[in-house]
Amino acid sequence: MIELKKLVKQADNKLILRGIDLKIDKGETVAILGPNGAGKSTLLKVLATLIKPTSGLVKINGLELRKNQLEIKKLQGYLPHSSLLYEHYSPLENLVFFGNLYGIKNAQEKAIELVKEVGLSFFLNEPVKNFSRGMIQRIAIARAIIHEPPLLLLDEPHTGLDQGAISILNNVILSMKDKGTTTLMVTHDFKQAAEICDRIIIIKNGKVADDFRLEEKELDTVSEKYQLQVEGVS
């Protein structure tokens, strides 16, 4: 699904990504861990076509990033730190707008269905600016998946959410996983990473430091391996 070869990103004389080689197959759920400033969000942004790599090969679903921007954009759903929602619009209007933008046929119905799935049907027509962080994040994930993308890119989705919102979010991710979606999740939350993901990648200083599969949901393994890599970094 995703193939990265020697991905390098330099910004303002500083190397953020120093040659990432990675292969991710279809259907995998991958967690990307690492210390702050390691380049995790940058990696996700490159995949989301928001940042142009300085050099290296990026292939998504066999399509090269440089040449097939439009097709690749249709294939992915991106959820960054900000919600990307229009404040004065209701969830319905936001989702219908994005649905139409991505060319979904029955955007209205899909929107209503998605809002129901995240448990916010009561607020279907309320402007988003009055929502709490948990509610915003739920609508944001709905926005990211309205066009049923085969690739989901999540940047620290669990930050600032209460348990209820976390479980709803995880349910959405797991239901997408059942549909065969590939998920890449940058997170600092080891517990959630162990819960949902079956593969862990640790990025340090712009390079892949560790890459292992997780059979059982072993939180300890994750913490141990992380500490091993990150020791010595202030």
Binding site: L50, K73, K74, Q76, P80, S82, L84, Y86
Partner: protein, 224 residues
Amino acid sequence: MIRSALLIAKKDLYSELKTKQVLATMIIFAGLVILVFSFAFDPANNTTKAVIPGVIWVIIVFSGILGLNRSFISEQRNDTMQGLMIAPLDASSIFLGKFLANFSMILVVELVSLPFLFLLFDFKMYGGFGYLILVLVIGSFGFISIGTFLAALAANSKSSEMLLPLLLFPVTSPILIGAVQATKIILTNIEKLSSAMAWIQLISAYDVIFFVLCFILIDYVLEV
């Protein structure tokens, strides 16, 4: 591509309808400009009629700048600009959509404020109404197209409200010169219509050249 542009334009205009914030500000600002002009120039005096063509375009330029700036600053809230960039659209669709929204808004402002101006200054128009509309539309078209483009450019700066006028005024001086001259001829000596048409041709040439240029270069401005 046109479809995406129309979607974006519709979103902007619908959002505007909900809040009525920007349009109201633009219209009130236009009213205030007219007021200031009536203090600066004596409305009762007949020679003041000579400045009316200029005042029309000053109103359009200054209210326009307010609306143009907001059209891209509003996309910085919740980083919705990122949302537009990851969507499967060309940068030109974003430009076209924003342009259509801004153009509609400035036409509404003109529709409301110009009759108000004529009223306050007791200006009687001697025919040529159709030509006046033509000049207004063509002039606004050029101003808003380069304005939308430069607003996208200026939005990258923290002091975008200050940068946009700096960028916009020098570059749109041909439109302003041409539009004021053409408006003057149409409103006062309609006999010299051929000169007015010459000015309109200049403005149209400018419009075409810069609209195409903006279309091509918007990719570089909206790049990441």
